[in-house]
Symmetry: C2
Amino acid sequence: MAPRKKQVSDSNNSNPVSMADLARELGVSMTTISRALSDHHSIGPAMKQKVLKLAKKYNYQPNRLASALRKGKSQLLGIVVPYIEGRFFPSVVHGIETAASKAGYNVIICQSNEDVAQERRNLDILLSAQVAGILVSLSRTTLDYRHFDKVRSRGMPLVFFDRVVEGDNVNAVILDDQEGGYVSTRHLISQGCRRIAHLAGPQHLNIYKNRRQGYFDALREAGLPEDESLVMYFDMTQQEGVEGMRQLLASDNPPDGVFAAGDYSALGALQEAKRQGLRVPEDLAIAGFSNEAFTVITEPTLTTIDQRCEEMGQAAVRLLLEVIEADGRPFTPRQVALRPELLVRESSVRHLEEHASSASVATEKA
Amino acid sequence: MAPRKKQVSDSNNSNPVSMADLARELGVSMTTISRALSDHHSIGPAMKQKVLKLAKKYNYQPNRLASALRKGKSQLLGIVVPYIEGRFFPSVVHGIETAASKAGYNVIICQSNEDVAQERRNLDILLSAQVAGILVSLSRTTLDYRHFDKVRSRGMPLVFFDRVVEGDNVNAVILDDQEGGYVSTRHLISQGCRRIAHLAGPQHLNIYKNRRQGYFDALREAGLPEDESLVMYFDMTQQEGVEGMRQLLASDNPPDGVFAAGDYSALGALQEAKRQGLRVPEDLAIAGFSNEAFTVITEPTLTTIDQRCEEMGQAAVRLLLEVIEADGRPFTPRQVALRPELLVRESSVRHLEEHASSASVATEKA
DNA sequence: TATCGTGGCACAATCGTTTGTGTAAAGTAA
DNA sequence: TTACTTTACACAAACGATTGTGCCACGATA
């Protein structure tokens, strides 16, 4: 065990200039330094100036670890998402990082890879990293929510987004999917469609369940039959969109409109319809969901629903900051639902009367 | 608006169970706890078992802040990217997070929003957060690199990716863009093209400069003229692709092939070509760059270059970990160039002879 | 028996900030 | 003048984990 005296040979690991160094140089206590830097009232203006100047001269950077350790709270927010790919999650994360950064927080990001076990591990890591709060979008395999009790029992602020734990005892930000299904279907009806099919997603996921519900709401409101034979349940891939369309077009009484709960299945439907020689939107109007990047590139361009990804991230951060600022005090959980925006494009416009898109304001439920 | 107060009154902020608590319960010192948990040799197996059991019972979570403060190094890696959107950066971040997580690190992510000042601030934040290392992709407005000297003078491990500081005194992971331009153009030549145009990007960015260079390399190799009148300099948007194509097709001697340095401009070119009644690829073969999601959706599907986003993230982490593990010891900076992958699709295939795509192995330069 | 090595644990300093409390001096009011 | 606030700063104890060093006892070796 050689003593190895701190080998600061040259520019190796330098600049650990701490408050103690500043204090020594000025001949004052660390208390004074600390309070001067945080603009505490008990430090005189003259001293404050001196400290600030010296800090700048030495390019002093506070050690956030030490600060967080002492204060018990870091300036970090934790994010747990299923993955960082596609259009949706990156955009939400973009919104989160932007909003967090504006509020003086930084984000540490974890992927669950759609795996509960990983999700659990991620929560543990974030807890032990002493983050100030956690934002979560559930993995697909999360059916049991007990690992979140641990988070809450630690008093750790927690907000769900998009894929949320249902109920009114959690903080959550979601897109109003039911409204999305509703406005989308209503739009198709307004374009003259009378037999509207629905390419639905797995119904154990609330988002797809709600989109289907909105679809039925619009049909009922218009006095159209709620025909289960027009609803195809799939996994929302492009290939399954093709398959669904094929089955629908093979029936005796094919639809004149399709509301797909996802853009990829809408794309598949569009391709199959064109392949079979149907004109879109004249013979068949199509609307998708999610505003994927490719929806402006298809021919015709695809009517869809924008999910307001960035707003979701921002809203989630706002809510989380509220919980954080409530500190220990009782905070009544809240659910925020963002209003989706209908983007009317070529695949659904038969006449030019209606181009209304739903207002894009956030409303709060409950 | 039901009141439904579910306010957590009692079990508010609990479980700050520390090593001290465990030590007290077992009647041993904190040293023993700490060493038992980190499997230190000086702790007997019996005691180790007891400690581990108690830790599990109380669901003990080490405080990473304290640990990092004491050890001087956290288990966090910092990432600075221009933004988290589109296809490229999210995919790279995905690769980074995955690789980092596998190595026991977590990532804290910052956006520079293409702004040097913000980039500088991000570096400061990461430094004061005591991260173990930093991964950077430069902002578009970064022309002066002095803020990175501060990082290095602190002895902080640093690796650039994609948008890098050029030179052999930095660690960097890039795509071999020149190779990409070369294989792409060579492919077009192999398909019978003899007048190949190039939609080039801003030449002050190394990626576009290199793609153009590869393009010329292939032409020269094939004995084709290097005709500057076939090179259009634009900003790589879809609209500018349309514009470029329009100009090219208006000339006396229009091209029979186009290598676009980006998929969006390739898309614009494709659309304009089709609009003017050209058959793609028969009359005009087109190849893009980046493998954007939409390239498999266009009609015809678009030949392009895959940028190996995830591999880039992983390679960057690997390199960074090497630097970290070198600790203070001298480490010779290294540049890693990933070999791009040519994805041959409908927009460029005139006959079926050639479908070779470049091997996808990473090679190291210098 | 004397010596030595070593396994097994405790002491206490340390990382860099924060903050409750103490305490002078200076200012204000009576 | 006395008494009471402010103002301006210092002391020192935290926060929770890590680690060099010291100590004791035990078995092994000579």
